[in-house]
Amino acid sequence: MTRRRWRETGLAALFLAPSLIVFAAFFFYPLYRLVHMATHEQRAFSSRERFVGLDQVTEVLGSSEFLGSVQVSAAYVVYTVPLGLALGILLAVAADRHLRGIAVFRTIFASTVATSVAVASVLFFTLLNPQLGYFGDVSFISLADPDSALRGVALSSIWQNLGLTFIIVLAGLQAIPTEVREATELDGFSATRRFFTVTLPLIGPTLLFLAVVLVIFAFQAFAQVDILTGGGPAGSTETLVWQIFNAQDPDEQGRGAVMALGLFTLTLLVTGAQFRFLARRVHYEGAP
């Protein structure tokens, strides 16, 4: 290598080292630890552990706890994603026009992006709790009933994600070239037909991206459950991440590690599609 090349390599090492150290310590080392924890049996009050191979993995994956929490998380996806996406599209389509004062409406629609998951959860706890809540006695979303509690929790996620969904769909709509819009208007299509045959396909990639993001958000739901129900009633809102979070005791960690690897696999499967999409984004300008 030339001297200049050496200098550039040294500088690159210096520039990348801080990030790489953080990634090694808090992204890759824990991944190795998870595999270790999943294949070893930890015992309470003892630092000794025993290699058990895949025994623990198969045992946990087949347990009613794991399968139950996957079911809860899957139901959470079903409750939050389609409705959240549809509402986001509705808000964006309504706000995608030139009207006096439209900026005010856009700010209101986008505002939930500024509320943290904890704030959103307290807001919905206020709305749904059986004592003081305005909707406290609506049985379809009652937090006191195992059959409906997850729907109540889901409501807070839908609301909290609405701002982000709105912002991204609106950006997608505004990226449609004006000529395309005008051409379809001249063709005399009705507004509804124009929406389903032209607009929706054009923002398809954006919606796909959003759907994946919302599914992952749903898989990761924890604060909502922690604040609104604490996993109850009768364990009906114990999501996958709630189970992982509550497996911190030394003798629970093996179980938690298997479930974390399960979550990782699920996330990978879902991200697979989006990742190719993202990678194209990241790569499309090419290397210098």
């Binding site: 990030s19 953080v22 824990p30 974390a260 996330t267």
Partner: protein, 273 residues
Amino acid sequence: MSRRSRAVAWYVLLTALSLVVLFPVYMTLVVAISTPVDYLRAGQPLHPVAPQWGVFANAWTEGDLGRKFALSAVVTAVIVGCQLATSVCAAYAFAFLRFPGRRVLFAVFTATLLLPLEVTLLPNIDTVLRLGWLNSVQGLAVPFLATAFGTFLIRQGFLGIPRDLRDAARLDGLSHLQVLWRVAIPLTRPVIASFGVVAFLSAWNQYTWPRAVITEERWETVQIGLKSLSAATVEQGNVGPAAAVIAALPVLALLIVLQKQLIRGLTAGAVKG
């Protein structure tokens, strides 16, 4: 329909949708300022009952919110500051420097995007525990000091700098550090600002990680404090909602001001253009 009546119809729809979006916020305000027992007795109406504004001051002192705001601010400042520094440096390396192993390292950065915090949660709690970092600023901040998202976003900005400009700067005898500081950063300030706003928002709003590594009340961040305050008796049922309003207001105000940067940051990667 005439143009005018069509506009009216849109206004009606937009207003109705706004009311739906704002309803949870409105009801939280109603419950916060009502006297809980009286509100309950009145049958949870849509308006406040026996309003008392002292609840906000009450929630502030009872929840020790001043301390929690200060801690959240420190942790957020450390995370955002370090993320900006590590991302700008890494982005410069990937955009402008040639070195062996570049593709592999790029893949390593990309791989971190596939590893959500929830997956690595248990081993990371272990690490923090063994470092003695439970209930500390380090414990809250260190795992988040670097981000591939920020690196890629800023790299993209760097790659948009015209080649001629960079070549001219190099011909003028500027070192890489000078190019970074005097050319690359000033020219990509909008991108860096957008990333900063998104980084601020996600650092400030964190819940799962602080909940895991904070076990003492005096180390609670604002977000974690909200949980403790909302699990109260009926008589105290207005304190949690009041605290949520206090917690939400400054961020909401800030983001209304920084709306443009926030939206640019959030839509990066989602929409072409």
